[in-house]
């Protein structure tokens, strides 16, 4: 007998005559309302990420300032990232085409992306490898991640985000910079992922 | 209202003052409690140590002694929790034992529940001029959810200075036979509880369970700390004219 049949057989024997249970979902489900931008800003900041609120015309200038302050010269720009937003920045835009090797990614100064969804209540941004985001390694290996979030992408809570996302895509949920609580259960920012996360919220 | 006192074997044997205090307190509030003589032990020690058959026998005896009353008053959060939380499981879903349990369980009250919820009193007219701290024992707190009832009662006691106990919700380490089977861990837990009690500067530590108090008090005594332990009932029974004894 295969282990598959063995395990499934054991499961079926264990469950013979066991009644099912009812699932009650009395918790707050999807709110279907836009997320509170101020709350999102506050919650992202709680993770010790850098946050700015800008209006649409101010994005290019804010991006340029952030990259300059960071001292970033070579920045990965995934396909589909809105070109006007980079217009004012004095950086070398590195494309992932042909795909950059891990070592090449390690050598750039940062990465700039958009996101798929952002969650106000938890201060989370979610990337789904869509336009302007690129494959997962792009936002992982570089030490600096600048993410531009449009107001329309901000949802209120976790159920809203789950409802909006497409499971078949590779998803990365990011809440603040890389951190660890492994030393005396105190949170320290900055381990293997980007040690600096900067979020621009476009209002 | 026919009220039975389920005094518990620990109080009956080692802390009769607590039982006497409950009787006198209830009498002062106009309730004549009956003491069903056939009662012995609720079976908690057996159940929690893994002796289910003995526990079932004792549970049968207890509900037989206690059924038919309008209320059963238990001066122990732990034994009240045993009756309410564990008896239904021991009794199964049908049969005379299950019927008796179904009859007794909803009528079983820990003392402060009986005072606050059934009699509707929070000021029992007590006088106790001491600095007191209160330890909410685990089964009172998380088993039968006594909540604020004991503190509400204590706050109305004349002359009593109530001081909060830091880390109050943490277990004292008694746990019945746990104190013997895991004596080292139990003592370590108790040491922390004792330290918290001493930090309050209280002269008296009270609780709704004499078993936990026996444990904490045993260490307070061994350290010659001078802090004494007293069941809540004895404080509530004290008046300006009469002490407990």
């Amino acid at each position: 007998m295969s282990s598959r049949d063995l395990i499934l057989g054991r499961v079926r024997r264990a469950l013979a005559g066991v009644p099912d249970v009812e699932i009650t979902r009395a918790y707050r489900g999807p709110s279907d309302k836009p997320g509170d931008i101020r709350l999102f800003e506050e919650r992202v900041r709680d993770y010790r990420a850098v946050v700015h609120l800008v209006d649409e015309p101010g994005v290019a200038e804010r991006v340029a300032r952030s990259l300059a302050e960071r001292g970033a010269r070579r920045v990965v720009v995934p396909a589909g990232f809105p070109a006007p937003w980079l217009a004012a920045a004095d950086v070398e835009a590195v494309a992932d085409d042909p795909p950059l090797s891990a070592a090449e990614l390690d050598a750039v100064d940062g990465v700039i992306t958009t996101c798929a969804v952002a969650i106000a209540e938890t201060g989370t941004i979610v990337l789904d490898a869509g336009p302007g985001q690129g494959r997962r390694a792009l936002t992982l290996v570089p030490d600096y991640h600048l993410c531009v979030v449009r107001a329309a992408e901000v949802v209120a809570n976790v159920p809203d985000a789950v409802a909006r996302l497409v499971p078949a895509r590779p998803l990365t949920w990011i809440s603040g910079p890389s951190a660890t609580s492994d030393i005396e259960l105190n949170r320290v920012e900055g381990v293997h992922g980007p040690r600096t996360l900067e979020v621009l919220i476009v209002t | 209202m026919r009220v039975a006192l389920f005094v518990t074997c620990v109080n009956d044997t080692l802390f009769p003052d607590t039982g006497r205090a409950v009787v006198r307190l209830l009498r002062r509030l106009g309730v004549e409690a009956d003491f069903p003589r056939a009662q012995t032990c609720c079976g908690q020690m057996h159940a929690n140590t893994g002796y289910r058959d003995e526990a079932v026998r004792l549970a049968r005896r207890s509900v037989a002694a206690l059924r038919g009353y309008d209320a059963v008053v238990v001066p122990s959060g732990s034994c009240a929790a045993m009756i309410r939380e564990q008896y239904p499981g021991l009794a199964g879903s049908s049969g005379p034992f299950a019927d008796a349990v179904a009859q007794v369980v909803p009528k079983t009250y820990e003392l402060t529940e009986f005072l606050v919820d059934v009699l509707g009193v929070t000021d029992v007219g007590a006088y106790f001029p001491h600095r007191v701290t209160y330890h909410p024992t685990c089964h009172s707190l998380r088993g039968i959810h006594l909540g604020d009832r004991p503190l509400t009662l204590l706050r109305q006691v004349k002359g009593l200075e109530l001081v909060p106990l830091p880390g109050a919700e943490e277990c004292c380490g008694f746990g019945g036979t746990f104190a013997l089977k895991n004596a080292d861990v139990s003592a370590a837990m108790c040491a922390d509880k004792v330290r918290a009690v001493l930090d309050t500067g209280a002269e008296v530590l009270c609780a709704a369970d004499n078993s936990c108090l026996m444990h904490i008090g045993g260490m307070l005594g061994r350290q010659r700390s001078g802090v004494r332990v007293t069941h809540l009932a004895e404080i509530l029974c004290s008046t300006e004219t009469a002490g407990v004894r």
């Binding site: 499961v11 079926r12 264990a14 066991v18 918790y27 992922g193 | 005896r61 003592a187 370590a188 260490m219």
Partner: protein
Amino acid sequence: MSVTFLGMPAERPFPRNAARAVRDSQLRFNLRKATRTIRARRASVVAEAPDWAELREAGRAIKEHTLRNLDRYLVRLEEAVTAAGGHVHWAADGDEANRIVAGLVKATGETEVVKVKSMATQEIGLNEALHEQGITAYETDLAELIVQLGDDRPSHILVPAIHRNRAEIREIFAEHMAGWGRPAPGDLTDEPAALAEAARLHLRERFLKTKVAISGANFAIAETGTLVVLESEGNGRMCLTLPRTLISVVGIEKVLPAWRDLEVFLQLLPRSSTGERMNPYTSMWTGAAEGQEFHLVLLDNGRTGVLADEVGRQALRCIRCSACLNVCPVYERTGGHAYGSVYPGPIGAILTPQLRGMGSELDRSLPYASSLCGACYEVCPVAIDIPSVLVDLRARAPHPWPERAGMAAAGWVFERSGRLARLQRAGGRLRRLMPRRLPGPLGGWTDTRDLPEVPKESFRDWWDRTDGGRR
């Protein structure tokens, strides 16, 4: 009967391990500090969620429903993962899982793998099994790294090195990093940020060049075939993203029916485990993502035995958040090693004896490693009634004869109120003879505590003599 292996050998009984642990002041201090920090953090983010009780109820019910239909959901998961280009393997026990993983690694021609922290692979002793096959597994989670470098054992399910403080960690890094790769910086201090930086540098190159990764998973969605890993440091993302081959070893109880169910568990888990609104990184992938080769190994290793137990089966709802460990007064004073299993604390006390049986003295003692204070049940995000399972296991554990005799005697006395009354009277008469120190197992009490004074008269005798105080 084969004995399920749980990552470490079952040795001395819990009370003896605990007696040693409670005397270790460094351990006591480290644990007290760490558990208190995390408890406060959890309490504040849980209090912030207005629908926590409803989320907890839904979490309990979803898990319970999944367990009751586990065969259906496992088959569904297999279909979905396969359809998305992944390969599914079934392992009846740890040995089989280890063989499968070793075979998959060998097929790639690699001899080094990077690992994301996973309880399942610890449980089956995968690293040791791979080592025997000439494959080196590098742990990449900071706490796992500390344990691996220090040749230590994990003592917590979320933070395996919780028993170590910063000074000890610094020493381990300074001494042992060189033996495993890039040495620690010469001027390493015990600042947590400096220690995290040392780990970053030590592992960086390995992440960039290793071709095979091994992970576990927090959840596996039957409906879509999606696997979910929650983490903090980014080591998980490194392992899940960069290597060409990814092998995930996942216990069969980790399956969830539908994508939507994540809306519950992505709230329950981060708040219960690290006490955050959300953990820094969560990765979700379905099948062969971004051209990776993906293998899912579904692990039984005793779980179906637990599933068959009416009371104990609820332990399979566990999402390994570790809230029960962090709040447990026993765990706080003994640490995890005393439990002799990769699953310590309250969940370990109910899971280990169910998975491994109660054949050894240690495993028999685990259901008693609790004062039944109920704090674990209160914080458990899937409402596992740990105290009830402990009591149920105690009823099935073989008891030592002196205890049986004592319990039988007590039962006999309580059987008749007259017997109790006679015993009370004898006690009242002999009260002055009561020794200050009790013999045998009862000495555990009097070693540290005084005995209460035995009263002259029991309550029932007072009642009879005074007609309930009316005379």
